[in-house]
Amino acid sequence: MFEGLDAVVLARAQFAFTMSFHIVFPAFSIGLASFLAVLEALWLWTGREVFINLFNYWLKIFAVAFGMGVVSGIVMSYQFGTNWSAFSDKTGPVIGPLMAYEVLTAFFLEAGFLGVMLFGLERVGHKLHFFATLMVAIGTLISAFWILSANSWMQTPAGYAVNAEGQFVPAEWLKAIINPSFPYRLVHMVLAAYLTTALVVGAVGAFHLQRDQHLPGPRVMFSMAMWMATLVAPIQILAGDQHGLNTLEHQPVKVMAMEGHYKSHPDGAPLLLFGLPDQAAGRVKYVIEVPKLSSLILKHSLDAPLAGLDTVPRENWPPVPIIFWSFRIMVGMGLLMMGLGLLSLWARWQGTLHRSRLLHIFAMAMGPAGFIAVLAGWITTETGRQPFTVYGLLRTAESASPLAPPAVASSLIAFVIVYFAVFSTGVIYILRMMATPPHHGEQGPRGDTPARAAGITPAAGVAVRGSV
């Protein structure tokens, strides 16, 4: 099965596979942690029972998703060494400290307060518990800060020097941390996480409103989620546009791939809506295009010249077909999210937010849209960095570990089997929990019989201590 594949290709497949699984969980838990903090704050502020019910309902789901994020994340942190040892040796002095700071400022904060957040409400009191929730939420955001800084440094390296051993070493830390693409990537990713969570919450709310539009929990969460979509989706499109312009400045080849511009356009480049990029032939077949629109978007001028891949040595081309399509999928999802936000605003104005069947079906269909957009976006930016790990400086082929292909192939197979077995089960558990609406007297992660998810309703108010 793996004959003829070299260790680098296998290592790339392994990274792509484990990363794609992993990113889904933090994308969800960053947004969900903030949502939980808001719910608990609203509960403490208003005293309304619906908020604590929603808090406990989503907390159980958070516990499962967060656990999967943790274990799939540990794999990522060791994979740099196992599969990409040359990369680790060369870039460790710069991006190693960024990741160490992620552990020190974020992972410990999340992990240290997670136990209290999950099981400690009755032990520490409301205010201290809220503090724990807040720490977990802040921890997820700090984590995003550092890991996106490290990732952005690979895209737009800055503040570094190269020593005698060929290692990248820090010259100016501030420039390395706040490297040119980092602020844009951070904003774009955090907004994406918030949207992803909002769409999941909205879909679950819509699902339950379909059956009973008077349920208090689903009404509140659906309304909150739709506000998020209405307000944040347009901001995200704007942020994405700015990120794109930043990419054009620092990684123009990536933008050529996204746009499908194999050829240079000296007097106004067209926007390719669809087409089939043919990497070998160096052109896009069956093109549907809008003349000069690409130049207008990227250069704010109809006739501005745009260079194409024909100006780039072929050995430095990223794989255009993947990037071309993943970019269009991401943008398409973003436009649909904005559409959902606008439709919900219309329904809200009409007073049909909680009973519009069309809106609810649309919202349910959009439940996974955030995940799809996040994955497509990451595929665009990471594949667009190829064939380099540190853009323009360190080639992917020179980054891998000196391993025999069978070693990498075996571990790849093992991860594929384990990930599908474990994480698909976890997703099923989460979907099962989502299938039951939040109810009166909703309990936290341990104040609930395990069989509840299977549909057996426990006697409300059974005095169950948390995980004592």
């Binding site: 040892s85 040796d89 552990v103 410990f108 999950l118 093992a414 995980s467």
Partner: protein
């Protein structure tokens, strides 16, 4: 240049500290997984799981600090050791996945199928522990380095010595798990934990003895380090302290002083760990790469040192608080049966 040497040594101690805190904190909860098959009763299992559920994630974070910190402070060592330990590392990660998700999954499945995640918890814990112990043995026996890269095969780690260290670590973690149960439970569960502690203590002493006898045969440097004059003045207290701690541990088990056995077992671990440090220093990849050769530039190490100096005390503080919140004996939950 002396400043550079100092900071690398400081970082060697920081990484050693992170790994030791990991062993202290995750050791007992991996040990609980290893002991899980011996507690078939569902109520007992719920109690065992709940005794660590609030803290396991924090415990494993020290492993990430150990790995991430090593990449940052000693990138060359990280780059050489990880491919050398490829198979044990992958096995450890897979073991940690199974046991990590079991903490939540076992409550989310239906009753009849719950055992599946109990098996995952036990199997994953054992696999991760064996892999860590094997990795330790493989590091001690040394790896084949050429230039700045690992140059051996992907099964080089597998030797009788590494199998021995793997088993030794499993015994040690199981002892930590059993004494943790002595600390955190009561009634029949605690009594059973006491009986297991006796057995595991003797097994652990046997394991320490076997590894201590085998290590000097790996490299002549280890023998010189431990037995040559005047080193022996500095190294002799280690076995003497082991004997003293063992005596105290035996007495606390005999007198059923619930609070003591766990902490005395940790002391036994600390001494074994100090012994490892004595054997390895100043190498980070034994007999090939010293901490100074592997160190990242001072600019990197100093930048992180600020973070460590401020944040690690803070982390230890709020981690202690989390343990304090969930202090005391764990009782079976009333609502489950």
């Amino acid at each position: 240049m002396t400043g550079f040497i100092d900071i690398a040594t400081v970082w060697a101690f920081i990484i050693a500290f992170a790994v030791f805190v990991y062993v202290v904190m995750d050791g007992f909860d991996l040990g609980l997984g290893i002991l899980f098959p011996l507690f078939p009763n569902k109520t007992d299992r719920d109690v065992i799981m709940n005794s660590v559920a609030p803290v396991w994630d924090g415990n494993e974070t020290w492993l990430v600090l150990g790995g991430g910190g090593m990449m940052a402070a000693f990138p060359l060592a990280y780059a050489v050791l990880m491919p050398a330990l490829y198979t044990p590392m992958v096995a450890m990660l897979i073991g940690l996945i199974f046991r990590g998700v079991a903490f939540e999954f076992r409550w989310r499945t239906t009753q009849s199928k719950r055992n599946r995640w109990d098996v995952a918890f036990a199997g994953g814990s054992l696999l991760a522990t064996l892999a860590q112990g094997i990795a330790l043995g493989a590091i001690l026996q040394g790896v084949h380095v050429e230039g700045r890269q690992y140059a051996g095969g992907w099964w080089d780690w597998l030797t009788p010595f590494s199998i021995l260290t793997g088993l030794a670590l499993a015994v040690g973690y199981a002892l930590l798990g059993a004494t943790w149960l002595v600390l955190k439970t009561e009634g029949e569960l605690r009594d059973k934990a006491y009986r297991l502690s006796w057995f595991l203590l003797f097994a652990m002493l046997g394991a320490i003895g076997a590894v201590s006898v085998a290590t000097p045969f790996l490299h002549v440097q280890y023998t010189q380090r431990w037995f040559s004059w005047p080193n022996i003045i500095l190294t002799a207290p280690v076995p003497i302290a082991v004997a003293a701690v063992t005596a105290m541990l035996l007495r606390s088990l005999a007198n059923k002083q619930d609070h003591q056995p766990f902490f005395l077992s940790l002391a036994l671990f600390a001494l074994s760990y100090a012994g490892l440090g004595i054997s390895m220093y100043p190498y980070i990849v034994p007999q090939s790469i010293t901490i100074w050769q592997a160190a990242s530039p001072p600019n990197s190490q100093i930048f992180m040192l600020f973070g460590v100096a401020v944040l690690v005390p803070l982390i230890l503080g709020y981690t202690a608080w989390a343990y304090w919140v969930f202090r005391g004996k764990v009782r079976p939950e009333s609502g489950y049966h």
